[in-house]
Symmetry: C2
Subunit: 338 residues, 2 copies
């Protein structure tokens, strides 16, 4: 038993528009000896995710807004370094939601042991093997009800969820997978590394102008991480009966003014489209089914991934902002003590 | 056997914005003797419906656009006056889609005999007992998956589909039904005649300002006939997991400019909302189930209805325009030879 100092990042003010450093503070918490039932975990990686921006606002949602003055919660993976319980011995790899801190000390029930996967760094449990991959899987299956032979369009395709969604779509039988990204390098990555049939750079020309040529047979499933112009372009390209999984709208997360929605939403009526928003809140029951698929695909070498790693918990805010500016390829994570 | 002159209204030009008389022509067609397998029907009532405006445009949709130079198709009800087939004898009441004409002469297979309902004028087979009622039923059940205890908001609630949807929602177990309409008279009708718990006049103040006070527990199901500001207001008021049936967007049907969509569509993500557009095309299989419910409710005196009747097939265009301006209460129909 011993004391431990934990460096933690807290939200202290609700951002207006883009978050700024003054909206956060970095603080030190000193943990005492473990209480019965507690474990102490040294985090290896902490996740930064687009949904976190939404929770900084004080609005009605499935997930409550972040409390001011408390440490930012979110996904993290680490190893047990001290324990009081038998089923989480020292050295166990655990996932948890205690977020932006280098050391977490909490009740054992708030940590979940995960099986290490051969060849996979621990950070993948925050990414393609974890919430990120599950988000792609849930969006395509439970929300968009993907069918073999579907043409699938993914916006923000080079992001963490996007790279997962495109590959999962293919593995679930999509006949054509098309993505969008914000640089020539990312576009090349989509087709060369992630198996996309075609990709567009949304900075080259309006998506509405570029998309039709890439989906000559129309779009059956749209997995939307962006919203805005991407949703508008997709609504024009959807086939009758098409399904749209609304996963993110990063285009509007940091705007202080209300941004108008798609000008062609009435296509949903004439074409019988379904738009369904989701967060993982209601779909945890699909995690075992996803894990079975994904560990098999991963073991077979059928899953490519990239990560963008930022070092040091004190840089978590920068990592989040960089991710929202699109500076990452694949999952953005913060490495601790590496 | 005999010849017959049929007065018919045809679309001759695709409207830009609001249709004008010059977009149509009234013409006389002379039918010869019946060919084997044909029947001749004298229409009693012809339907004018919001979806017709959409089909005047040349756009991708479940339903093909109206052909120029051909008679406007659409729902109509009449009686067989001459026949060549045994199962449709003279006097049979039939429904068909031959539309804006006073006399129809076509293959017997394009007409469907309907059972007359005691106490119901034939026009109701175009309204609450027919497509209009079915639209409300499909939107609430197959699309919005209404549950007992739901709070339901209906836009355009004094229109044909709206009056049906509000009553059906109540009969299917909604605990609170709220509607919008465009005049004080219609608002009064909603609460006094159609069983709405509360109603708002969208001309009094922005819907976004008026709605929250009428739905203190939030909205579970939104049946949208209007789009625009109504959809925006509803998205703000929806409860997590809420379902939106997109049935019509009459607010935008006649605009020549693209109108921006709701500025709060990202609520669909954070609240896990589903927006599903529909037309009746894919839901004909629910007609028998609907008919069983509705004839029972009607016989029990639990269904109120209004109709706005315009006389003469030559006034069909005026009837359509009046309906789109909101001059009708309940179903707008054109009476023939009354």
């Amino acid at each position: 038993m011993s004391h431990a100092v934990s460096i933690q990042v807290q939200l202290v003010r609700r951002p207006s528009g883009w978050p700024v450093p003054e909206d956060f503070r970095t603080t030190e918490v000193t943990y005492g000896d473990l209480a019965p039932g507690q474990v102490r975990v040294a985090n290896a990686f902490v996740s930064v995710d687009p949904y976190m921006r939404g929770r900084m606002n004080d609005v009605k949602s499935y997930a409550p807004p972040y409390a001011l003055g408390e440490t930012m919660t979110g996904g993290a993976v680490g190893r047990v370094v001290e324990t009081t319980v038998e089923d989480l011995p020292v050295g166990t790899v655990v996932l948890h939601q205690h977020g932006w801190r280098d050391v977490a000390q909490e009740d054992a029930g708030t940590f979940r042991a995960v099986a290490e996967v051969a060849g996979a760094p621990l950070s993948l449990h925050l990414g393609i093997l974890g919430m990120t991959g599950l988000t792609g899987y849930v969006g395509l299956t439970a929300i968009a009800r993907i069918q073999p032979g579907d043409t699938v369009f993914v916006s923000g395709a080079a992001g963490a969820v996007g790279t997962a969604a495109g590959q999962i779509a293919r593995l679930l039988g999509a006949s054509r997978v098309v993505g969008s990204a914000g640089s020539a390098e990312k576009v090349a990555l989509l087709t060369k590394r992630y198996g996309y049939d075609a990709a567009l750079n949304y900075r080259d020309a309006p998506v509405r102008e570029q998309l039709p040529a890439l989906v000559p047979g129309g779009v059956d499933v749209f997995f939307d991480n962006v919203g805005g112009d991407h949703l508008e372009a997709a609504l024009d390209a959807m086939n009758p009966g098409g399904r749209i999984a609304l996963c993110g709208a990063i285009a509007g997360y940091n705007s202080t003014e209300r941004t108008p929605g798609p000008d062609n939403l009435s296509n949903a009526i004439t074409r019988g489209l379904t738009l369904q928003g989701f967060t993982l809140g209601g779909y945890g029951h699909l995690a075992p089914e996803f894990a079975e698929h994904m560990t098999g695909w991963f073991a077979d070498g059928r899953i490519a991934y990239d990560e963008t790693v930022v070092d040091g918990i004190e840089n978590a805010v920068d990592a989040l902002l960089g991710m929202m500016r699109g500076e990452n390829t694949g999952k953005m994570v913060v490495a601790i003590g590496s």
